[in-house]
Symmetry: D2
Subunit: 377 residues, 4 copies
């Protein structure tokens, strides 16, 4: 008999859509003990949130998130709001005994994240952060390949996340749609928004980071602020690059920018090991490249793996070999794993505590860029 | 106020899943007058069909398709069964005044298809055939580009659809899962299954075909038949190639096989025009390649277009630039267009009549291969 | 002690350059018993041929090819002139006891080619035809892979050669530079020029062809003829496509055109076998793609082999892994193999007799296109 | 009337071959006032150097480089020896009034390079350093595109040079073939060997570098030394990464390693500008990728330019569109440009002084890695 898991979501922007879609689709593709029920969605604009609820099938709406958190018929709170609101909501949810699914990055900084971890752990509630790219099948496969030992000793890990959507000088900052350009709401620019994804994947696959040396840049220094209507200093990092050492002795190189003309969401990583290497690229997320030095020399080359086979992570739930899935499926996978985790009583990774490790690297990166010095993580 | 369109689906195999998913998702992503309601699904195995109904949210089940067709609460019949059953069901549905969404190819041959067309036209019911690949955004974009005149005079159209799943000699034929290997159920092998897609797209983009010269082959001559348990002659074409002339004077070259090791669902096409060319590949369906001779010569080259921008067909309904969609979305688009068509009272392409044109080419191809001669279409 | 092989070349156009370069370079990269000496080059325009001789280091020039053939100090005649002149020159060279290196295709048709074979065989002189693409390292590697049995039973062989240089309607035909557009000089259009390469490679790698069904087209029907200054009917095939059966039971599909906008010299082939497949593309001639079904399923994919390793054909003579060679090196390899062959007293493939097999297919293709019927080869 | 330029080359290893080939080939492909004459080659092993001379056509040999430099019949000294010998030889050549073509990097460090510059400038002799990758046609084209203003303001420049040939722990260091692994002979590891190329290209295309922050690593700490036969500390950097600011405000990111399994000579760079971006990759050196935001949005994408057209740099000297050249041609181009430069009396870039700028960056990079601090260049 299927059990319901009643979801209460705060926020209904872009991430609200991806999560709602995931809750709706998971029962069609995964045979699980729990089935999510879209109980309520919360937003300050009553009309807009109602329209969202109608589109996605939420049973009710709230305009005060504290009321949502207080409702008895809600099992889990999903936090899809700007980063500066995560801490307060997560702690309130934990105190109300709700499970928590929080958008990334976990918080504005390590101090906030630590409070959230403690609150969730004290309450003993299931908690996770939406680092969805772990659950691209090709990325999960990369993790499996590394864990299997096929790469041997790791020498290099490099990742970047390149976009180009903020090049126009007349793009404003701040407000509802553009809060990611306002450090007061987002905490940082590309570091928390994009590099955080790269770091989460890296820590998961390649282990902890020891120290970092970073460089940030703000190319467009002033933009009109949507909340004040005035031209104001841009407070975020438009681009961030850092070098690092991993605990396993490998070298890391990370870069992110919103000024790489021609790239929309080019998250890529490459791992070079003693025996084999792996490459992945979000623009063709259904593919994984793999080079194995053990192949016979005359026919050795980078393999381009079309990750659509039933043997490969998650793919037995979808179609047939050769038919690709897309971006939104990563969220479906995360919901499926979350539901499976709570059924088994096991933590679902990344937990708040896992996400805090990523936040530590982000904070060290920003400190390093500010001080022009190496920083321990 | 949204209107319901009550769906009754016959069949619940692979295509049953793709269609059910499409009906479920369309209201989340498209703002339309009609909303599909999964009223009933029909299959002979009561237990299996009930499980399918539970998974996808069908309100009821039937085990006799004639009962489904007779139900007053059904607006549209969706036919997802082997090809040898299309004609009878479609005609019955038309006679019952139901709209019809029929899987491709339309029928076993032109004669059957013609009967279906006449029945649907006589009844005046909306009718369409699921040639879903037209609605890959990149394919729709290709159509737009050709229609815009960017290519000028067309010289060449070439397409293939390559798979490798039947190479193993111990794969049986026939029965529920493998009816595509049995001509009694499927009508033909790769011609109706795979080339039909290629032909549908070609007729849509490049216009009618005049004559064809074809070659077919059955590489594995005998396989165990699942219905009889005996080793029997294989009745289908394992591979089919044909050359043709289009009405517009361009040359066509088509190939399909299930014996191309390394290709899972490699449907590709390329169109060479006087001024520009286009290429597409189902294995990376979110990309379109485009070459424009009008580009400045020193920077002229094939453009690799990541078809994820809001300006491009259907993509304003999904995520943001750089984030790809996948195979299943083609069905969502077809449902959305169907719903929009019935709201406007306009035919939704491809209609039965459109699909009959594809069937004519398929029949001519099979006749040509048999006679080793050119055949008029 | 190095022996000289005195070369007398007839013709000094594009192929004259590629061959001269090959003769000059082979001693720098191959340690061989014979060293070519550029003794004489022959052309009707004394001034132009002298300039060519100066550029490439020929010791002398001739303006009458019969004089060149008669010279005692010439060991080998290299024929780099339009196809309608091959027969007479080759026979004269054979009768003078000279070795012969003849440009492809061997002749205007099978009858001429047969005469040439008989003359060369009667004279007992070394003879070869410049089907240079066999000696792209990646193509030679493809041959090795197939011969090793890695592919198992072959199901499909497909090749094309796509260009776009004759799309402009005001391009004239005939005369020195454009004799390839004049059937009186070339014998045929793309069939002899481009498909002949594809056929040579196919016969070499996949064995003989049994029968063919072909289609040709002349898109631009009239062009100014440079020899007459008048607009005349275009006599060549602008495009040619054919299907065929190979003796080994596999199916072949070949296409060539000079009207494929965006492709300059896109010679590609793909071979699908029971266990593995191979693809190659002249636009990236230093790469070979290979798919091996024996690879572990989760990391199975097309391998992109950078054919620059010392283990791979010819590459131990060049640079280091990762550093590519180009088009002209194929001619160097052919000269090296020719020199090695004569040192060992062994025939160098393709011999005239080998090239005649390609001519037989070309003739059958043209006959099939004319008659719209299948033709035995 | 062609003038001779008598070359005296010191060294006959890998670079000796590339240069000798270039001298031999340039007259066949470029119509120039000067023609190189291979007058003499110098090496300490008389037998080996004689064999080299025979292979490449040098008229004479020397075993003492000072004698070579002193010869009256030598116009230009080409220095192809380990880096620790550059300074002494170059200064002697300059003092003897010879032109100098020196392998890269210019010297062991900036101080040495400065002495070389002063010597050459004092003597007033033509001087150049073999940063050959500038003269890959696609790279020269990239320079032209940037200079044309098509990119607008530059935001990012990133480059890497990845190899994998030193991963084996039992590879020794030092001696004739492996001097690049010995800092006493090479000055540094990947920084001077590989990153120097990346830096040269970057300075040429994107202008000067202000400051750097670098990280180096030696993965294999000890290797047998071929000169001593003993296991000794490895003195070079196996990998080096650095971040930097360019004078034009753009950010730079550079990486090099010999531990990137699967990459043989993967020199790549990418430049992101306000309006357009460029990418290049040595493994497919005949291609350039270009993205232009000015393209119509529905058909906008990265263009893959096959740089083989007569309009593109150097390509009018080679074959026809679609037919690629390779690695060695970069040296031919450099010789051609050198000969043209001396005919015109103009400096040939990069001069010693240009190469010194690259050395300054290399020195700053090594200092930064040592001190873990940002360094001004």
């Amino acid at each position: 008999m299927t059990k319901s898991l009643n979801i209460g979501m705060i926020g209904y922007g872009f991430m609200g859509r991806t999560h709602s879609n995931a809750y709706n689709r998971v029962p069609n593709f995964f045979d699980l003990e729990y089935r999510p029920v879209l109980k309520a969605v919360c937003g300050r604009n009553a009309e807009a949130v109602q329209k969202f609820a109608d589109t996605w099938g939420y049973e009710s709406v709230e305009t005060d998130w504290r009321k949502l958190v207080a409702r008895d018929d809600i099992d889990a709170i999903d936090i899809c709001v700007p980063n500066n609101l995560h801490k307060e909501m997560a702690i309130a949810a934990a105190e109300a005994g709700k499970m928590i699914l929080c958008e990334k990055p976990i918080a504005m900084n390590v101090a906030e994240g630590e409070e959230m971890c403690q609150a969730a752990e004290k309450a003993g509630v299931a908690n996770t952060v939406w680092y969805n790219y772990r659950r691209v099948p090709a990325v999960t496969l990369a993790k499996q390949i590394v864990d299997s030992g096929k790469l041997g000793r790791i020498f290099h890990y490099r990742a970047n996340f390149l976009q180009d959507w903020t090049i126009a000088e007349d793009l404003p900052q701040g407000g509802e749609a553009l809060w990611r350009l306002d450090a007061a709401a987002a905490g940082s620019g590309v570091t928390g928004d994009l590099l955080a994804h790269c770091i989460d994947t890296a820590l998961w696959i390649n282990g902890g980071i020891t120290d970092v040396s970073a460089m940030t840049e703000t190319f467009i220094k002033q933009r009109e602020h949507q909340l004040t209507g005035k031209v104001e200093q841009v407070s975020i990092d438009d681009a961030c690059t850092f070098m690092c050492h991993f605990n396993n002795g490998s070298l890391g190189l990370f870069e992110s920018t919103r000024y790489a003309r021609g790239h929309k969401a080019l998250y890529t990583f490459e791992i070079n090991g003693e025996h084999a290497s792996i490459r992945w690229d979000l623009h063709d997320l259904h593919r994984l490249e793999y080079y194995d030095h053990a192949d016979e020399s005359i026919v050795r080359g980078w393999r381009n793996i079309h990750v659509t086979d039933g043997d490969q992570p998650y793919m037995d739930h979808w179609w047939v070999p050769g038919l690709q899935i897309g971006y939104e499926h990563t969220f479906v996978h995360q919901v499926a794993d979350f539901l499976e985790g709570i059924a088994k009583g096991e933590p679902v990774r990344p937990t708040f505590r896992d996400a805090l490790e990523t936040q530590k690297v982000c904070d060290a990166v920003l400190a390093s860029a500010k001080d022009r010095s190496w920083q321990q993580v």
